[in-house]
């Protein structure tokens, strides 16, 4: 491996401007890397001291409380109990704040923008951290409660984290499901079938439409797309009633098609794919035309391989919505019900099923979240072209 020697760092216009502004004293120069090393050592020492204080006062408070509960002789420093509690609390708060500050200082990109104040950054990141914890709490909590044994679910005062981790709730859930009127695997097969067929059809039909809407200018195309954009607002609820009437006229009530066919025409998939395909160079398609390729061939072997992020996103949105349908309004026979419906029935089982309900929530939510985590970079790439033009 040859390394380029003394290769000057590429300077952008912004870098030059920044240098000028530093010279003029308009902004303060960045932290030097050497300073960071010193900062790291100082913060480790500080944190160790804080941790020692917290641990010491924690042990003392615990000892004093347990002695007084059992009515035993109190240690000599019992009168300082409230002082220990305060020290413990302050230690934790200071430690958390400092850790946060240090984290930002070490992890934030060293190249700061010239018009940003460090205090503004700190305030914003602090708020972000607080809100993120608040947003994640219900989800973390439901995962934690699915791991709790029954006596801990009904504790007063309640605790967030389980003391004895157990998978009993999940095994109970499978016992309940195996005793149900329709075998559990049936619900699973139903949902998988609906999700798979619905997504495949949606992908094919919507991407064909998106291709011509994005790349050809033909009478009525723009109008049609505008209607589709308005249809982004028709949620399943507004169209639910007349859809039921239409389904019953088409004799599709109580069949899988009542869920699958509307999913084929989901506007969000068409919308995202059309917006993404507009970014594809028109020259590519014209060149293929000149080479004598048919529209079908252009679509299949030129456009589709090039818009992989878009169809991945369409697949994910479609899977998410189909996986979560309970379809109780259009499907009546028990043997055709979906997984989510069956799980909701268990959740409705009341206090006796609290543990199983928590397990159900975790199973239902983990599937879409896992899919999102695995594909989030592709989704974000597609969403970059999701804007609506006037």
């Amino acid at each position: 491996m040859t390394q380029p020697i003394n290769k000057p760092a590429r300077k952008t216009r912004g870098d030059l401007l920044r240098e000028q502004m530093i010279l003029r004293g308009e902004i303060i120069q960045d932290q030097e890397p050497a300073g960071q090393k010193k900062f790291l050592i100082v913060s480790i020492i500080l944190l160790l001291v804080l941790a020692a204080i917290v641990a010491f006062s924690w042990i003392r408070v615990d000892l004093i409380e347990s002695q007084s509960l059992q009515g035993l002789e109190l240690p000599r420093d019992a009168e300082y109990a409230s002082f220990y509690k305060l020290a413990q609390f302050l230690g934790i708060v200071c430690g958390a704040c400092y850790l946060f500050y240090a984290g930002i200082r070490l992890l934030a990109p060293r190249r700061r923008k010239p018009n940003r104040s460090i205090w503004g950054d700190l305030g914003i990141y602090f708020m972000l951290a607080v809100v993120a914890v608040a947003m994640a709490f219900p989800l973390v909590f439901s995962i934690m409660s699915s791991l709790k044994p029954l006596d801990e679910l009904f504790r007063f005062p309640p605790r967030v984290f389980p003391q004895h981790v157990t998978l009993d709730n999940f095994s109970d859930l499978f016992v309940t499901l195996s005793q149900s009127y329709v075998p559990f695997s049936r619900y699973l097969v139903n949902t998988v079938f609906i999700t798979f067929v619905g997504t495949a059809g949606h992908l094919l039909i919507a991407s064909m439409a998106a291709f011509v809407l994005a790349k050809y200018d033909f009478p009525g195309g723009k109008t049609f797309f505008n209607i589709v954009v308005t249809a982004l607002m028709f949620s399943g609820y507004v169209t639910g009633i007349p859809n039921y009437v239409i389904m019953s006229k088409l004799h599709m009530i109580d069949t899988y098609w009542a869920i699958i066919l509307p999913a084929f025409a989901a506007p969000i998939g068409l919308f995202l794919m059309k917006q993404f395909m507009e970014g594809l160079p028109t020259a590519l398609i014209e060149a293929a035309h000149l080479d004598g390729a048919s529209e079908m061939r252009i679509f299949w072997s030129i456009v589709m391989p090039n818009v992989k992020p878009a169809w991945l996103t369409a697949i994910i949105f479609s899977v998410q919505s189909l996986w979560n349908t309970n379809a109780a309004t259009v499907i009546y026979s028990e043997s055709k019900k979906t997984l989510v419906y069956a799980l909701q029935q268990i959740q409705a089982g009341g206090v006796a099923r609290t543990g199983q309900a928590a397990a159900v929530t975790v199973i239902v939510m983990l599937v879409p979240i896992t899919i999102f985590i695995l594909s989030q970079s592709q989704i974000l790439e597609t969403m970059a072209s999701s804007g609506l033009k006037d």
């Binding site: 018009n115 809100v131 033909f218 009525g220 939510m365």
Partner: protein
């Protein structure tokens, strides 16, 4: 005068002829569009059209629809007190959760924009997860449970702020606030993703030009550079947040019960479900759906006009 009109007509005819020619030349396009268009028409346009039609009739699925004119709408406004409660609740929920959810998802998308990549990914997952977590909002029925085992009650009682448990989900005074909190928790949806992606795509040289032109702090930069270049995403996010703000249904049904105490958590959509799928009064339910749909379209137009003025 006559010649002018004749000229106009012949021009129009020529234009139409030209359009028709073009349409004939482009018939492959229509072939490609056809499968989607047919399904879209059947399951999205036809329902809206027929819902407008049914809203003028009395229809209960078994008998043929009977035309009753404006009777459904008159009943809706003058006789159905529950509907008025539902409208009030829906408006309260929409006016609070719509704008706040929209602004919050933009602000958070903007805040996480300058974080290092792995932290940004983590933040996106944390903020977006509640909106795709299926019915994970059931957790709130444990957090807000009415007895002492409910977490909020337990905490408040431990600090002696209340002396007996509050029935968060059964007391009409507390139902709406709880529902609003839960909906805000779920409000960072597709619009948020669009904002995150859009912010990454803003042209970097615009910011550099901004430094030269004397942009002092991040707020000026936000207003003069970022917002105007984000306009398309802002419009898309607005459509998404209007949809979720008005179509509140699952959350009140799951948390406050269906029907809820004193109808305090009834929204337009739960009212629609009640008439459509419990009483099978399809005509009346269609009238409710039509009203909801009109409100949503008007709201969307108003917001689009507002967003056009941003940053100009």
């Amino acid at each position: 005068m006559k010649s002018l009109a004749g000229k106009y007509l012949s021009m129009k005819r020529e234009q139409m002829h030209y359009g028709w020619q073009k349409a004939k030349r482009m018939k492959t396009c229509y072939l490609f569009l056809a499968p989607y268009a047919i399904l879209f028409f059947t399951f999205f346009i036809l329902p809206i059209a027929s819902s407008i039609y049914f809203s003028f009739t009395y229809y209960n699925i078994l008998e043929a629809p009977k035309f009753v004119g404006l009777q459904n709408y008159i009943n809706l406004v003058l006789q159905d007190e529950v509907f008025l409660t539902a409208v009030r609740n829906t408006l309260v929920i929409a006016v609070i959760t719509g704008p706040i959810g929209y602004i919050l998802s933009f602000l958070f998308a903007w805040f996480i924009n300058e974080l290092p990549r792995w932290m940004r990914t983590l933040a996106v997952v944390v903020f977006y997860a509640p909106s795709i977590a299926g019915n994970a909002f059931y957790v709130f029925s444990i957090l807000f449970r009415g007895d002492v085992y409910g977490y909020l009650n337990a905490i408040l009682m431990q600090f002696a702020l209340i002396d007996r448990p509050i029935l968060w989900l059964l007391d009409p005074n507390y139902m709406l606030p709880v529902i609003i909190i839960v909906i805000l928790w779920m409000s960072m949806g597709t619009g948020f993703l669009s904002f995150v992606a859009g912010l990454q795509g803003v042209d970097k040289s615009m910011y550099e030009a901004g430094y030269v032109d004397g942009i002092r702090n991040r707020w000026q930069e936000l207003y003069y550079i970022t917002l105007p270049s984000m306009k398309p995403m802002l419009l898309f996010g607005a459509v998404m947040s209007i949809t979720s703000a008005f179509n509140v249904c699952d959350v009140p049904r799951a948390l406050a019960g269906y029907p809820s105490t004193d109808y305090a958590a009834r929204t337009i959509v739960t009212h629609l479900f009640d008439y459509g799928f419990s009483r099978f009064e399809m005509g009346y339910a269609s009238a409710i759906a039509t009203v909801l749909f009109l409100v949503m379209i008007l709201c969307n137009k108003a917001i689009q006009n507002m967003l056009r003025k941003v940053g100009t």
